[in-house]
Amino acid sequence: MSALIAAATPTTTWYLVLAAVLFGIGTVGVLVRRNPLVMFMCIELMLNAVNLTFVALAKRLGDIGGQTTVFFVMVVAAAEVVVGLGIIVSIMRKRPGANVDDISALKG
């Protein structure tokens, strides 16, 4: 048993499958939840899944470009969160407690 555990070192495939599962969880969250803030968090989950894929493949391919891409993805994600939360705050100020069904028409 202990030999089996010692033999089973995680390969890149394990990391990629884990990232795929995390991406699936994020997808379901975006489709199911109604609170815009929680939907944003689910988008963060999907971004993190893709980041994990990039880093795992950077190691596998021996190319630092994958890590550079993750660096840029993080910056874009930060900008996206700032703008998205700004939109949510300005919508919620007019309609407190709104969920995404209430604001589907996007008419202020």
């Binding site: 070192t9 890149t12 963060e44 989950l45 630092i64 939360l85």
Partner: protein
């Protein structure tokens, strides 16, 4: 040892991810998100991305989740949301089917092509005791060398995002409303 780290970090990631989707309280969802982000940071360390692991903890867990919590408290939506009722009956089964489909397709693609990917880059230098900052040096050579234009454009993006958010959330004065 690597297996133990992987299993624990994977458990953190999956429990946190499920927590974000399933917890009905937005604050609990945000705290579950922190768990996932720390798990991903552990994965980054075990994949030789030490700098990105630090950035992950500082930027994501430190700044973005705090921003989420701040907005949750500011808007006063920190109450339990009723996630039992569903306006569209078909949506949840469809969402689960889509999620399982995405996961299954990507997993199948990964497993069928696992022997195809081959090392082709210069390699990622693993940090040693004698050379602890090799990852940062290698990454910075890439960011400030090959991708320096993208880096500069990123700074423009951040300025645009900050200015745009200030404009979006600013309360309009009555006088300026007439001029629009």
């Amino acid at each position: 040892m690597e297996l133990v780290v992987f299993v624990f970090a994977a458990a953190m990631i999956l429990v946190g991810g499920l927590g974000v989707v399933l917890r009905s309280h937005p604050v609990h969802a945000a705290l579950s998100l922190i768990l996932t982000l720390f798990g991903v940071a552990v994965m980054f360390v075990s994949q030789q991305a030490h700098f990105l692991a630090a950035v992950q903890v500082i930027v994501y867990a430190g700044a973005i989740v705090v921003l989420f919590l701040f907005v949750i408290m500011l808007l006063g939506v920190d109450r339990t949301e009723d996630i039992k009722t569903e306006p569209f009956k078909v949506q949840r089964p469809l969402a689960v089917i889509v999620g399982l489909g995405v996961t299954g397709l990507v997993t199948a693609a990964v497993i069928t092509s696992r022997d195809v990917v081959a090392t082709r880059g210069a390699g990622i230098i693993e940090p040693a005791m004698t050379d602890p900052d090799s990852n940062i040096r290698q990454l910075s050579r890439s960011v400030f060398g090959d991708y320096v234009v993208a880096f500069e454009v990123t700074s423009v993006l951040l300025v645009v995002a900050v200015v745009g958010t200030v404009l979006l959330t600013r309360k309009m004065k009555p006088a300026s409303k007439e001029s629009q």
